[in-house]
């Protein structure tokens, strides 16, 4: 099971698009074998400190270990999956 958390800055059109595309890619790669929590940093700045967030948007993979954070062009979700080693279940 992959456990992921996405930190965003408000529910802007850009962040909504990012969430949608990430979910589509995760559905494709992992089926139902993942959770994606979306955290609006304005609603929960304390979590951002705990998770050592330095910029938005940031995607964190908490499970399976090791914990990894990824910043940058998260729209390139194919590379995001590769960087976090989220493998496709499809052969």
């Amino acid at each position: 099971m992959y456990q992921l958390k996405l930190y965003i800055t408000g529910r802007t059109p850009r962040s909504q698009k990012l969430i949608q595309e990430l979910k589509e890619r995760l559905d494709s790669n992992c089926g139902g074998n993942y959770t994606l929590a979306v955290v609006d940093i304005f609603d929960d700045p304390d979590s951002a400190y705990e998770d050592k967030i330095i910029a938005t948007p940031t995607l964190i993979k908490t499970l399976p270990p090791p914990v990894q954070r990824i910043i940058g062009n998260l729209m390139d979700n194919e590379r995001v999956m590769a960087a976090l080693d989220i493998k496709s279940l499809k052969g």
């Binding site: 800055t9 330095i54 910029a55 948007p57 914990v67 954070r69 910043i71 062009n73 976090l84």
Partner: protein, 131 residues
């Protein structure tokens, strides 16, 4: 062609840290010590990325953000701030108006400025682990 970055911050030490972090990257960095000066630069030149302080005299970062967004909806703007509710409250109006921006935590180190800037401008991914 070199990419252009604008840093708007009233603290000289912060402006210097961005210049230092980015001087070997090949990017062109302009700095402004207040929002009015920053807006003047923005109107005269095009920028590929803007780092914007929140708490400044003359114009707040939130006011500058809204002015820039009236002219340019696309340029990436990173508000450089501590992640505290009291600072976030200043961005409420900008959020209600649908102004797009991202956040960069303050204080931030030289190496982090460089890697994040390259990530934003070159479309690269920055991977960090714990420890």
């Amino acid at each position: 062609m070199s990419k252009h970055i604008l840093v708007i911050d009233d603290e000289e030490a912060v402006r210097k840290s961005f210049i230092l972090a980015l001087k070997k990257t090949g990017y062109t960095v302009d700095t402004a010590s207040n929002g009015r000066e920053g807006l003047d630069l923005f109107m005269k030149k095009g920028y590929d990325l803007i780092y914007l302080d929140l708490k400044m005299p003359i114009m707040t970062g939130a006011e500058v953000l809204m002015k820039i967004r009236e002219k340019d909806k696309a340029v990436p703007i990173y508000i450089v701030t501590a992640f505290h509710q009291e600072f976030f409250d200043q961005l409420k109006d900008a959020r209600k108006a649908g102004a797009d921006f991202e956040l960069l935590m303050k204080p931030i180190g030289i190496e982090q400025i460089r890697t994040i800037t390259e990530g934003i401008l070159e479309g690269e991914l920055i991977l960090e682990g714990d420890g």
